[in-house]
């Protein structure tokens, strides 16, 4: 395996990890505030559709991105309403959102475009084009570092860089600001936060809204960055892999980055080498596909340190009377 092949696999890793990373950070904010969210998949799907639909109609990918974020925020608002205001079961609300998104996107797509639940292919300004970073062309001849910069770091769409910048930003917000401290506290012990005179409901809504924005970007990246249009069910389980990554990362931003990159790498390797011949045994491609889930179960079983979810996660907050 030469450097070029390795770089291509890593390049593919970055592309595949980006939607996972955004969705994983989205889940991180929500779950750190005590709201479990298995509706990541549905929010990404809705965002992917509305981003592609608006980009197709207006021809502007930025309007598409906004529409995707707005759609995802709407679903977040529904999740918030059901699980914060009305204290419903968060898992059921999440499942409902997944179903709602899967059905609604195809229905609206069929009504608007009559292409079997697809949007038309996006062209020109309707897509996020890869951006070439400065000096990428000039440094390509430098051995090793040049190709790494040119192939791996340069040449992604802007949302990839946004996703990677979100990691330090999330860390800073969660662990270095007053808002972050309160947000984490509300996921561990909402009663204490309430006693301190801070609105539990307000904080939880804020967390769910941040989750909506990040899912929106993830969905828009799928439909307008990686692809040129929406196809039904195009998220293909990425929301659930992101949840697995979140547990794998033990609800921490930097670990989320590593987990998503690892899962992305597993996918990229599985796509590049269908069956891996290790001499004695051949690893089938299915094994690589299943590995993210297997690793998550291993982590959950407590073999590699403990994954402790936020203590108040999943419980609606009821003020004592």
């Amino acid at each position: 395996m030469d450097l070029f092949t390795i770089l291509q696999v890593l390049d593919s890793t970055v592309r595949l990890a980006t939607p996972l990373l955004l969705a994983c950070l989205a889940g991180l904010f929500s779950e750190r505030a005590g709201i479990f969210d298995i509706g990541l998949e549905g929010k990404m799907l809705a965002a992917a559709f509305f981003a592609a639909a608006l980009a197709a109609i207006t021809g502007s990918v930025w309007l598409g991105l906004l529409a995707g974020i707005a759609a995802s925020l709407m679903l977040s608002a529904i999740h918030g309403l059901a699980s914060i205001t009305f204290r419903g079961n968060q898992l059921i609300s999440g499942v409902a959102i997944n179903f709602l998104a899967a059905g609604m996107t195809v229905l609206i797509a069929q009504d608007l475009f009559s292409q079997g639940g697809r949007t038309p292919s996006l062209i020109g300004k309707g897509r996020f084009e890869p951006i070439t970073l400065p000096f990428a062309e000039e440094v390509i001849d430098i051995p090793v570092l040049g190709p790494i910069y040119y192939e791996l770091i340069s040449g992604h769409s802007i949302l990839v860089y946004v996703a990677f910048l979100m990691v330090p930003l999330s860390w800073w917000v969660l662990f270095r600001t007053r808002f972050g401290l309160r947000l984490r506290a509300v996921g561990e012990n909402p009663a204490a936060v309430d006693t301190a005179g801070v609105s539990v409901v307000g904080l939880r809504y804020a967390a769910v809204a941040i989750c909506g924005v990040l899912c929106g970007i993830a969905g828009a990246y799928l439909a307008t960055g990686l692809q040129a249009g929406f196809v039904k069910d195009m998220t293909a389980g990425r929301g659930f892999i992101a949840l697995a990554a979140l547990i794998f990362a033990k609800w921490r931003p930097w670990y989320a980055l590593y987990a998503c990159l690892l899962f992305g790498l597993l996918q990229a390797v599985a796509l590049r080498y269908q069956n891996i011949d290790l001499g004695l045994i051949t690893l089938p491609v299915q094994f690589m596909d299943a590995l993210p889930y297997v690793l998550t179960v291993v982590i959950l079983a407590g073999f590699v340190g403990k994954a402790i979810p936020p203590r108040a996660g999943g419980q609606p907050y009821v003020k004592e009377r």
């Binding site: 229905l107 292409q115 990686l226 692809q227 293909a236 590049r272 269908q274 299915q286």
Partner: protein, 331 residues
Amino acid sequence: MTFMHKVLATTAAMALSAGAALAEPALIFDLGGKFDKSFNEAAFAGAQRWAEETGKSFREIELQSEAQREQALRRFAENGNNPIVMTGFAFGNVLSEVAPDYPETKFAIIDMVVDEPNVRSVVFNEHEGSYLVGMMAAMASDSGTVGFIGGMDIPLIRKFACGYAQGAKAVNGDITVLSNMTGTTPAAWNDPVKGSELTKAQISQGADVIYAAAGGTGVGVLQTAADEGILSVGVDSNQNYMHPGKVLTSMLKRVDNAVYDAMTQGEALETGINVMGVGNGGIDYALDEHNEALVGEAMKTAVDEAKGKIASGELTVHDYTSDDSCPDLNF
């Protein structure tokens, strides 16, 4: 809102005219929906052609859920519709239960074999069409490497891959055929992102023509192929229009002809297994204004010659599903 109106109006119209129908043929669309730009839409086109040519009408329903399959079949059968045509292998189990209850009614199922005396099972020789596009891919390739990207890893899709590899090797014995499957679950039919990544991986291994038999995943394959400046081959219906000048051709399954034939035969529908292949116009490759420039005269002559040979039986293409193996490709 207009869509809602249409649905309501259609339902109302169906309810009102329910008693009036007599031996009209009926067509049931599978879950993909009538206007899926592929399988179901082709079936609709065939029925439409029959209706225009004969001046008669037919009944139709689009399934909205799995549970409606049996209901729709029984409703049409009890209503006296004959024959009842349905698209998609998913009807297999339901039809084998329903068909014996209505021995007077003829049924036609596409893409599946149901062994009942009053059922016509239409199956397609996809391997023959894949052979033809495989030949074209090998002729269009400059690098000597062509690719295949399948959806879910099932014998049917391996049949496509196997036919394609045979066609490519028939033109160029030294050609490398790369083959990838998107996945092993139904999600593999709708994962264009994975389709794109597979395309990029195959391009980096030298492929310059890629054949996608992968449903919605194929959209990603065709898109990436067009973006990266290589050729692709579409499947099932004519997908040349999706990226004019970048799609070499499409392997056509003439579902419309199957539906048209069934409706034309009417109540005297011939039952048993009906194989649609290159010989009887059931399988073909697409040639239109979008790919004329890509398909040269030499290529067309060679493919049409092979087509004639397959039709006459002089050339047989190995069918993967006949013995679960492929002479020209390892899975």
